[in-house]
Structure formats: C-alpha cells, structure tokens
C-alpha cells in the first residue's frame, strides 16, 4: 500500500527544517483556532457553562439597572420638587426616614448581588471542572504529541475567556433589557432620566466580573490536568 517513492518523500522532508527543529511552540493564533473549535464543536457543554455566567451576570446587571433607574427617577423627582417648592425653605418631612430606607435597600441589594455571584461562581466552577475532567484523555494525548503544560492551560484560558465574554455579554444585555422594560412599564420616560454613562460603566464592570469568574473557575482545574503525567491522564475513564 505504501509506495516507496511516497515514503521516501516523507522521510526526506525534514532535512530542510533547519533552525525550526529546535523548538516546541503553540502560537497564540493556532491556540485560538483550536479553542474556538472546541467551543463551537462542544456547543452543548459550552452553553451549559455559559448559562451559569449568563444568569449570574444577568442578575447583577438587572440589579444595577434598577439602581441607576431608581436614582434617575429620584433625581428627576427631586428636581421637579425643588422647581415646585423653590421658595419653601423647610425640608420636606420624612426626608431623613426616606434616606435611611434608601440605604437599607442598597445594602440589601449588595447582599443579593454578592450572594448571586457566589452561587453562579460555584455553578461555573462545577461546569468547567466537568468539562476539563471529560477531556483528561484529550489533554493526555496532547501531551504525548509534545504539548507543554502551559499549552494546555493556554487552550483552556482562551476558551474560558471567550465563554466568559460571550456569556456575560448576553447576560448583561438580558438583565439590563428586562429590568429596563420593567421600569419603562412602571414609569414612562425613565430612559431620559437615567445616567447612561453610569449604566455603561456598570455593564463593563459586569463583563469584567463575568470573564474573571470563568477564568478563575477554569484555569485551576486545567492546570491540575496539565500537570498530570500523560499516562495518568490517558488512563482516566470518563
């Protein structure tokens, strides 16, 4: 089946490698290509992992949207109130109480956000852990083919950043959109009252948190897998 000529060509073609022959590399471009392929080919797994991020970030942005909208409304009302009662010097009764209540509400919201982020972080970690574990054999194979530990980590790093970015983008838009709709239904013209610069900052922070969470969740298990001796990684049954 093997033609002698063909075999000869194959075994000759290494002579002109020259300097290249002395290295082991995984260029970022190739790594990105492989990671992208991993995400698209395992879309189901990627979506489960992504869903955790989407939900967590959606909740976060919805809370922040509500905060910005509420502040916008309060500021608007305050402006109209001062316009109406410009010459009234007395402070409206109950302002102190309202302020205290506002503070309590903010504290409650912070608590909710922290809790929900922790829950989604656990979810993401679990999902990432699964996705690394089911690829132990693949990791072992790559190491047999000459991959260094950091190549494996690099692949998972890119993958989790991509997943984290897409997941938190979708989550941020979702959470923001839904909460905005709720406020529009409650009070028309709320969009004009909101501080959009502030909102954008919040959305960017949410994106950052989402990417950070998925990184933190994926890289430690990937590192652990990368450091396993290939024989052990290959022997794992999933």
């Amino acid at each position: 089946m093997i033609k002698g000529e063909l075999a000869k060509r194959i075994y000759k073609s290494d002579t002109d490698w020259g300097q290249v022959q002395r290295q082991i590399t995984l260029p970022w471009g190739q790594a990105a290509r492989i990671s992208y392929r991993n995400v698209t080919m395992r879309l189901g797994r990627a979506m489960i992992t992504g869903a955790g991020i989407v939900l967590g970030i959606a909740f976060l942005t919805s809370v922040w949207t509500s905060k910005v909208a509420q502040e916008g409304i309060t500021a608007y009302e305050a402006r109209s109130a001062t316009a109406i009662s410009a010459d009234e010097t007395a402070i409206a009764p109950g302002a102190e109480e309202a302020k205290a209540e506002e503070q309590a509400r903010a504290a409650r919201q912070t608590w909710l956000v922290v809790m929900s982020l922790m829950v989604s972080a656990v979810g993401i970690t679990n999902s990432m852990l699964m996705s690394v574990t089911e690829r132990f054999r693949e990791i072992g194979t790559m190491k047999c083919l000459g991959a260094l530990d950091e190549f494996i980590v690099r692949l998972f790093l890119i993958e989790s950043v991509v997943l984290g970015f897409i997941g938190s983008l979708v989550g941020a838009l979702l959470g923001h959109g839904i909460m905005l709709l709720v406020y529009v239904a409650k009070q028309s013209g709320v969009a004009a009252m909101m501080d959009w610069g502030q909102m954008l900052v919040y959305i960017l922070i949410a994106l950052g948190i989402g990417i950070f969470l998925s990184l933190v969740a994926a890289v430690p298990p990937a590192m652990r897998a990368a450091q396993m001796p290939p024989a052990a990684a290959l022997a794992t049954e999933v």
């Binding site: 073609s13 490698w17 290249v20 022959q21 693949e138 260094l148 290939p230 290959l234």
Partner: protein, 294 residues
C-alpha cells in the same frame, strides 16, 4: 570558553559552542558535553540530527521498577525489566493483561516515571530531562499509537495529523502539505476533512498512524494498536506498521497480545508478572509458527 578533552585521543578542543565529535579522532564527545552541564543542548544534538545518532540501541532500560500505590497496597507492575532495543527493529512486547507491558510502554515513552531504574532513549537518561525536554522528545522522537486511537474528537483527520507539527513549529503551508501526504500514505487521502466519528475504527487508527509519523520520529510506540479492531483491520494496521518499519527504518515497539504481530516482529519479548519471561528472535518464531500451522 570551555575545554573539552577527548576521552579517546586526548585532543583538547577549546570552544564556546558545542562539539559532539572530536575533530581529531571523530570520537563521540556527547557524554563529555553532558557531564559539563550541556544537558539540554546535548539532548538536542543527540536527538536532532540523525546522522550523528549511531548508537546501536535506540532504547535501553536498566533495572526498571514501577510500583503503583493503590491506597494502602503497593502493587508492583514492573520488577527490574532490562531491555535493549535496536535501531530499526520491529519489537513486540507480549503478555497477558496486567503483566506490565503497558507500564513498560509508558516508561519507554516518557509518559510516566519509573519508581526505580532508568530508561535511556538514544543514550539519554529520561529521568534527567526537564518538562521541556520531555515534551521535545515526545514531539519529535516518539510517535504514539494507542488502543483507543486517542484522536482529538473535535478535529478533522488532517488537523489531528498536523497537531504535533504545530508544536514542532512547522509553517502552516508545509504542515498542510505534509499532513495530506501522510494521510495519503496510510490510504486516507480522500478523508482529510472527516472528523474521527465519521471514520471507522480502522480508519481512525490509520489517522493515528499518520499522526505518529508527523515529526518523523525515530521510534513508533504502539500500545495494543489492534486491540479495538477486527481481525482484518488489525492485520492491515500491522502490515502498515511493518511497511513503515521496512521503508523508513523507524523503530517500532508494540505492546500487544495479538498473535498476528508475531509474524512481522523481529523480536518478541514476553512479559509476565512485571518481569521478562523470555525473548524470542525472528528465526525461532518462524519455526514455532510453522509447527503451529498458523
């Protein structure tokens, strides 16, 4: 500036670089260089240039022990195995399951570390290699074939074959060309862009054979390459390996309990309970097979 003294003729070479051959008497200076701390460079010299690798034994193990610790119990898998494998040899390691042949395979392939003893590839002690050097060795010197094929499921046949070439830093065009050539060589020239799940077991193993040849290795290590294949397909893979062995002189080391392997092997090492039971040479086997009427 380093002084390198030739152990053969006493010639002293002063150099800042590497000298692996004595300019006076052409003696091998790699061991001298190695002792002087040129470990990595020496390895590269040793493994990078085939014209200089003149060692008779491509793989050598010395008193190889491996003990697996399972909870409280220590299970010895290898008990002092010594094998010398010649360059260009087609060697089969036979034995029942649990005999330690896969463990030996892992040691020789640098996939696991021995508990005691040493394994040399082209006279380089594997225990002395760091992670980079080991990866380098796996990438360029050894091609692996597994019972379960172990192709990357999300990649096409061509991408699977070119993966080790990416690690070796080959250019994209060259990679594609060589990948296609290798797949053509194993008879899959028309299946370049098929995913592993679109291929039969035999075809997947062919892709694995092509992949093992990616960086023109000196050794092909095959762990039960026919274990998951039917009789006919298994025979085809064995023939393919034998042809590669004869055409290119690549050393084939195969752990197996497939008796079909005996026909093509230059030598068969029988392992039992982590020890070498007996070694058979081609001539003896021919006789035996003849009497068995296989």
């Amino acid at each position: 500036m380093a002084r390198i003294e030739c152990p053969e003729c006493g010639h002293v070479e002063e150099t800042t670089g590497l000298v692996t051959i004595c300019p006076n008497c052409k003696a091998d200076l790699r061991n001298v260089m190695a002792e002087m701390g040129h470990r990595r460079e020496t390895l590269r010299e040793v493994t990078g240039d085939d014209s200089m690798t003149t060692h008779e034994f491509i793989v050598r193990t010395k008193d190889l022990h491996k003990i697996y610790v399972m909870g409280e119990v220590e299970v010895p898998a290898l008990k002092g195995v010594e094998v010398n494998i010649r360059r260009g040899e087609y060697l089969s390691i036979m034995g029942p399951s649990g005999s330690g042949k896969s463990t030996l395979f892992n040691m020789v392939g640098g996939l696991d570390k021995p508990t005691k003893g040493t394994c040399f590839i082209e006279e380089v002690d594997m225990a002395q290699l760091d992670a980079f050097e080991l990866a380098w060795l796996r990438c360029r010197k050894i091609g692996y074939i597994f019972q379960t094929f172990n192709l990357i499921p999300v990649m096409t046949a061509l991408e699977n074959v070119t993966l080790p070439m990416i690690f070796a830093g080959m250019s994209s065009d060259e990679m594609m060309e060589r990948g296609a050539l290798l797949l053509d060589l194993v008879g899959l020239g028309d299946r370049l862009h098929h995913k592993p799940y679109e291929l039969s077991g035999g075809q997947q193993q062919r892709v694995a054979v092509a992949r093992s040849l990616a960086n023109n290795p000196a050794i092909i290590l095959a762990d039960e390459p026919t274990g998951n294949l039917d009789l006919q397909t298994g025979k085809e893979i064995i023939d393919l390996l034998k042809e590669l062995n004869e055409e290119s002189g690549v050393t084939v080391i195969s752990a197996t309990h497939d008796l079909k392997m005996i026909d093509v092997s230059d030598r068969v090492i029988h392992i039992r309970d982590g020890q070498i039971e007996r070694v058979e040479n081609r001539a003896d086997i021919d006789l035996e097979v003849g009497t068995l009427g296989v």
